[in-house]
């Protein structure tokens, strides 16, 4: 039973990874790509690591996989935030059909 749940989690995680990477290729803008790919790939890899921890019954492997999942959960949004700020500061334009730019209004104040 644990094996089946673990394999289902791994399959769902890999599907989330593939969708995130398709978003990374298909979206028109740095910020759109960032928001599509980072969230999908973070969730997918965390599901994959939890599935690996469930399938392998060894306690050492499961502990390392859970530690890895928690580490990715903490660091990936931080890295995405830093990249978005860096991209805006380096002068990358928004997509031409974007409707709102709150960060520019915040800087203007």
């Amino acid at each position: 039973m644990t094996d089946i749940i673990g394999h289902i989690l791994i399959i769902v995680g890999i599907l989330f990874d593939i969708f995130g990477c398709i978003g990374l290729v298909r979206f028109p803008d740095v910020y759109n790509r960032l928001q599509a790919s980072t969230k999908c790939v973070t969730l997918g890899t965390i599901l994959l690591l939890v599935g690996v921890a469930l399938v392998s019954g060894v306690p050492a492997t499961s502990t390392k996989a859970i530690i890895c999942a928690v580490f990715i959960l903490i660091t990936s949004p931080t890295a995405a935030h830093a990249i978005a700020k860096g991209a805006y500061a380096s002068g990358v334009e928004l997509w031409e059909n974007s409707v709102v730019d709150k960060y520019a209004e915040e800087i203007q104040k």
Partner: protein
């Protein structure tokens, strides 16, 4: 018994193919990306995908050290991404 082993082999091959598709899509964006932040995003995503790949390898081969490789890779990928983001922002590394 025989059939069970075949199903597992098919599933492992599907895992490898899915993760390879992710890696090649990230590599396409690294090569094609019009600006530097695009490439930085793609490098970050590629690092996270490779962490998952190392976990799958450790599960399939039964070796324990692939998870250590995954932990070290996640840490180094995070530090590299933060350094690249600070460089993009136009600041030096020590403020």
């Amino acid at each position: 018994m025989r059939r069970r082993v075949d199903e597992e082999e098919v599933m492992i091959t599907l895992f490898y193919i899915g993760l390879c598709i992710c890696c090649f899509l990230c590599l396409y964006r690294i090569g094609r990306g019009p600006s530097a932040p695009d490439r930085t995003v793609a490098i970050d995503i590629l690092g996270i995908v490779i962490v998952g790949f190392c976990a799958i390898l450790g599960l399939v081969t039964g070796k324990d050290f692939y998870l250590n490789v995954a932990l070290a890779w996640a840490l180094l990928s995070f530090i590299g991404t933060i350094a690249l983001a600070k460089f993009l922002e136009g600041r030096s590394f020590d403020d």
